[in-house]
Symmetry: C2
Subunit: 354 residues, 2 copies
């Protein structure tokens, strides 16, 4: 049976990417060797790394603008730490929009003063704070563009006199933005880009080199840039699959083209959530994420029926995170509009049964 | 043409492992979903992680002895840093046997005093220092069991009153040792265990919790242990392939069985190096690595002929590291005796041509 994979991450990837990746694990580009058993210093792999780095900048519209792209290990969680190591001399500001931005903030506390610029904790992070000002005495301002767990998304970003750092783990490459307003963007691959195991970091080079502490090599963005994202052995497979996925996106028409599809998917699910009396959206309407739609089923007695219907329809990964409960439909780039239609049909069928 | 893959890392893996891994990328255990698109918190993946962790301890004979196994991101290079973060309060001792141990030592310097207990730098690291004493006032002693670049290997380890930490990146699971003499073992997967992208860390739990500094979450072994090696999204594919490779090794008869094969491969190449007047070994005989045989071709005029012959025989990855020059035959667990025979034939054919 065809599966409809709404998993929050690791998540669905384009079938043609999976097929090519699978092939490369036994025979990479007809070399007679597997992708994962060749030297990372060999020309075929260096080409993969360079292509992935170039595609990332190209798709964000950041080529020739002083940015460098890196594919590192350690997940976005390691970037919580690396950002502070590289940029925090005295004080940084964090926008607290949920679990992940709070974790980022906590890790940074080991390296300097942290000011919570605004927070939506008062309403279990179901909205994005607005109207706050970013102080101009900060080393940097940090925000999380999409809150995977709560299903909220920043639709615009504050004016910012200091470097702006953004965790885009769960919505990078999903919508058009002026990406040059950010000075550092990071994103774990395992949503819109590839498998778990690599993290994209896009850095405006001129923000580096301004802290007085010594930075351990593996945390040092300058060292990673200087070695072409190969300071040590890179996560070869994860970088390769990311490259394939970025290629797929480029061939599809890039971020502009996928944004249209993502908007369609989001409209479809949110109008069902709103119109269907059995379901209720969690996030404040203005801040609803196009990537993760969070909602609850109002009538507990229908839970079993609903979940059986989901299973029968081949729908996977719809459980909400424990911090929110209910359901979460993650609709990353590779999820088709058809899969959302299948989900919406199940939801409306439940209504007719109830 | 069949390839004989002598790459130093990433390196050869068992063909049956590659086949299973390739299959899992399109359809994991007949689930209809790819291994890389399911949640790492789902039971099928948690089972993979737990099996990998258990197999690692079992193959090292460390089950039930107070050790925990972790599969982390960041490569062995991140462990250079993590070891010091977790264990270095005042002073640590390092045995300097080449590039990697020197890098480990340099990173640790950011966290405390470092004493170079012994070094073989005087002879470009072509031997392992012996007869040194490990001071008893150290927080820990660090050594590198196999020096991938220079082709030397510790055949025995010093008596040590303080915790002993060992970088086994390039010879873990290749030979029998009393692994309980070590308190912390780490190894990048990309030699004897799997693809680049994960690092095995095996820790005797009772050495932790003794430093006064605050440790960032992603560097904190206790946090990783407490969350079952899933503090954040693990590198799913690399862990899965490592699990498959450890399973393969167990089915083969474990470390004891592979050690016999590894010894045969090493004897074969080293006797050719010694007997063939065209070649000269780099490492001191007593310290020769069973994993990486380093050697030079004495007559530069034969270089082109030799390399053409290697190519015609399907031999890949024989170039030496720039710090040593010449050639390096890496003979990790998955390399067959047959491949070594093919190489030795080419070497002796060169002699007959010369
Ligand atoms: C927005 C966001 N930031 C950070 C993370 C943590 O990523 P990782 O598990 O790669 O460390 C996640 C994971 O889901 C996330 O959604
Ligand atoms: C003995 C040893 N230690 C450490 C490393 C560094 O490993 P990584 O590239 O995974 O950081 C290597 C890499 O070849 C190695 O051989
Ligand atoms: Mg700015
Ligand atoms: Mg409703
Ligand atoms: Mg001891
Ligand atoms: Mg000789």
């Amino acid at each position: 049976m065809k599966k409809h994979n709404f998993s929050a991450g690791p998540c669905i990837l384009p079938p043609e990417v999976l097929l090519k990746a699978s092939q490369a694990v036994v025979d990479f580009d007809n070399s007679g060797l597997s992708l994962i058993e060749i030297s990372h210093r060999s020309k075929p792999f260096v080409d993969v790394m360079e292509k992935a780095r170039t595609l990332a900048l190209e798709l964000l519209g950041l080529e020739g603008k002083g940015y460098k792209a890196l594919f590192l290990q350690g997940g976005a969680s390691t970037q919580f730490l690396a950002v502070a190591y590289n940029l925090l001399e005295n004080k940084a500001g964090y926008l607290n929009t949920g679990t992940w931005s709070n974790k980022a903030l906590q890790e940074a506390k080991l390296f300097g003063d942290i000011q919570e610029v605004a927070s939506s904790k008062d309403a279990n992070f179901n909205y994005i704070p607005k109207g706050f000002e970013v102080p101009s005495d900060l080393d940097y301002f940090h925000c999380t563009s999409n809150n995977t767990i709560f299903g909220t998304q920043l639709k615009s970003f504050p004016k910012c006199d200091v470097p702006m750092v953004c965790d885009m783990s769960s919505d990078i490459f999903s919508r058009q933005l002026d990406f040059s307003q950010f000075d550092l963007i990071y994103a774990g691959a395992q949503k819109n880009m590839g498998p778990a195991g690599t993290t994209l970091v896009v850095i405006k080079e001129d923000i580096l080199g301004k802290v007085s502490r010594q930075i351990p090599s593996m945390m040092d963005y300058k060292k990673h840039i200087g070695s072409g994202s190969m300071f040590n052995t890179p996560p070869v497979f994860a970088v390769y699959v990311s490259m394939l996925t970025l290629e797929w996106l480029k061939n599809l028409g890039g971020v502009k083209a996928i944004e249209e599809i993502n908007n369609k998917k989001a409209s479809l699910i949110y109008s069902e959530i709103d119109l269907n009396p059995l379901f209720k959206g969690f996030a404040s309407k203005a801040d609803r994420s196009t990537m993760n739609a969070t909602f609850t089923l109002e009538n507990d007695n229908l839970k079993e029926t609903f979940e059986t219907m989901l299973k029968e329809a081949g729908i996977n990964g719809l459980n909400g995170h424990r911090s929110v409960g209910g359901y979460r439909a993650s609709m990353y780039n590779a999820l088709t509009l058809d899969s959302v239609k299948v989900l919406v049909e199940v939801m409306s069928e439940l209504e007719s049964k109830a």
